[in-house]
Amino acid sequence: MGAPDSPSVLASTFATGRRYRVHRSYVLLRPLTLAAAVLTVALASSLDALIDAAGGSLGDALPPAWLVALVAVGAFAAFYLVSLAFIALAWRNLWFEFGQGEFSLYSGVISKRRQHLPYARVQSVGHRADLLQRVAGVCTVTVESAGGGANTTIRVPYLTLDAAERLRAEMLARRQAAQPGSGCELAYHGELDLPTDRRAKGEAAARAGGREGAGSPSASPRMPEPVADAPVGTAAQAARAAAAGPALHDAGRAVGAWRGLRGGSQAHGGREASFQCGLSNRELLLTAVSHDSVVVAALSLAFTVAGMVGLWSLGGAPAAGGVALTLAALALGAVVATVSNALTFGGFSVRRVGDRVEVESGVLAHQYTGVDVERIQTVAVRQSLVRRLMGYCELSVGIISSPGSQSGGNSSKLNRGGLVIHPFVRLSEADRVIDALLPELAGRPSRDRLSPLPRPALRRALLRRGVWFNPWLWACLCVLATCAIASAGSGDTAAGDVARTVALATSAVCAAGSALRLAGAALWARGSGHALARDCVMVLNDGLRTSCVVVPRRKVQSAGTRANPFQRRLGLTTMRASTAAGASLVVSLVDVTEDEGLEWLGWLRPGR
């Protein structure tokens, strides 16, 4: 996109009223994904049967491996070809259009669907690409709108990166032009590189008759001729890499910046970033290692293997081998999770461009998210136990949630608990990064202004986390009761020994877990608190994991307090702030004093 001719003229690369198709790779790649999924399901469902057949008397009667492979490849190819025909038909009926006042996406072969979104309601435009799309240089563009319960998300699949970037710029320009009193106008600057339907070309004249929304091939408009694909590693890309500083020389960033076969050159229109930062190789490695998922993956795999080893050892397997297997599982889980994290956060970059915060991340699957600052509801500084010991933290923002705006897979690590705007930053540097990215929050209170929790909070925290809401304790009691019943029920000495061993091991694990919870409760009661400034509230929940959330007053939808009889007896209450970022991001602090609770309710009142 070129620069605007004057401040009130915005460049446009999409003609109003013209229908644009998505990239042709949709036809080739989409069936591939479907066929792979079907083959995986088929293999998984027949795995048991194959194992049984191989292990049983049927082993000799099994067909040779090459025949099985041939059949699998044949089935894959057949499914691919069949779905190719359907997807090709779907592609012919999938297009988008920039209308006078709204963006429309048409889809469906038999059941026609039209999604439309007025430009004024566009909240954010992002894109993400899985591995296959990355290789092809295409991505799926997500256009989100906000409006209370009527939030919607429109997905435009398989656009080239170049087209996606232009679409984003176009959408934002049209939104700006659609704002009342903006005084902006759109100036059409040229065509876009999107696929042409050869048959549709000859029918362009026929379309002049106007069969709006018909969706049949004959109704397709004439598409512009595609321009030559830009080679991989263009000058624009090199310039971008050079501009972003030495960190971009890192291998992860180089792969993250690769635009794929059809990605085209970087289309940088509009304003420069006022702040930009990323991760060095060392920071990326530490991010990957210190992420929560490493501990979770390692422990869950180790527990699974330990359980299996425990079952086998009943049959007389050596204990040393079991321990070695468990340790190997622990290491394997950690390594796999670390590599997965490195791929998720490789090429991470965050920047502030105008009134938007833009985040890019991912080596294999790539994700770009751009969020209007007005859409940000909360800013959180979070530390896991490992990162707390290291003195580092993760920064994230809570944004207005749209249904279906987040998908699973690796991207969820970037979207968990809001949008991660920096996965690994030194705690002492966190304020500087927030100030640079979100100067709107300059008036937030500092941590030394926090009102600490009253003394009774410690005793209540120990009871709450150590007893009532301690899953370790209740799990341990259940296991102990089961073991006692099992050993009392059977007169077998060996069974009694096994029950005692299990009870002992469970008690040890649960005691360790409970000790950690108690330590966390003590830290929470000592370090937690809240602070009210004129325009922001800050809530810090300390502990083994810490979470410090700042909410601008304008973004607090309602303020609440809630007290149970035990709290009332001690003059305590729980303060809560709900925002439009969703129920999972409700900000709360247990056991503030009743006076502080009343002050909190009064703080939100207009004209206080």
């Binding site: 209370g148 925002t579 439009a580 002050e599 309710l601």
Partner: protein
């Protein structure tokens, strides 16, 4: 800030709660009682008949106890705890018997306001008002029509003049 909001609900709301809660309890307990009571009448053996009889009796006692609770015990306490205050700028709500909650909702955050009136409420000339923000909603169950209308109009008026800040 005052300790509690000043306004109480219309006293007639207690009867609305009594009737609607009694119907709700009965809708759960009636099938349960019938599930034991019907086989009791058809039971072949004496021991099964006795067991089903005890179960049916237990259901009837529980039904009666629950009816006493929702008709006689809870409504006065609930009514005493339910307070609200409607100012020009915000809505203040305090409620709850065991877990006591209090909410402040500025009207400039309100997205929409609904008034609703079921058959029981209509019989008593009352309406409930639901005030929704971008994150949650708060229902005030027993208001006279005039108050409900005033609240809805006020919220709509402030929503119009409020800045679009979500």
């Amino acid at each position: 800030m005052k300790s509690l909001p000043s306004e109480r609900l219309d006293p007639r709301v207690r009867n609305v709660w009594r009737i609607s809660d009694a119907i709700g309890v009965s809708l759960v307990m009636l099938p349960l009682t019938l599930a034991f009571g019907a086989p009791y009448l058809l039971a072949a053996t004496e021991s099964l008949r006795r067991a089903l009889g005890v179960a049916t009796l237990a259901c009837l006692i529980a039904w009666a106890a629950l009816l006493v609770v929702v008709v006689a015990v809870l409504p006065p306490i609930r009514y005493a705890r339910w307070r609200y205050e409607l100012t020009d700028d915000y809505l203040d709500v305090a409620k709850g018997i065991v877990w006591r909650t209090r909410h402040t909702v500025p009207f400039i955050r309100v997205q929409d306001t609904d008034t609703r009136q079921g058959p029981i409420m209509r019989a008593f000339g009352l309406a409930s008002v639901t005030v929704s923000t971008a994150s949650d909603s708060h229902e005030i169950p027993g208001l006279t029509f005039e108050v409900a209308e005033r609240m809805r109009d006020r919220a709509a008026e402030l929503a119009r003049i409020a800045r679009e800040d979500v």
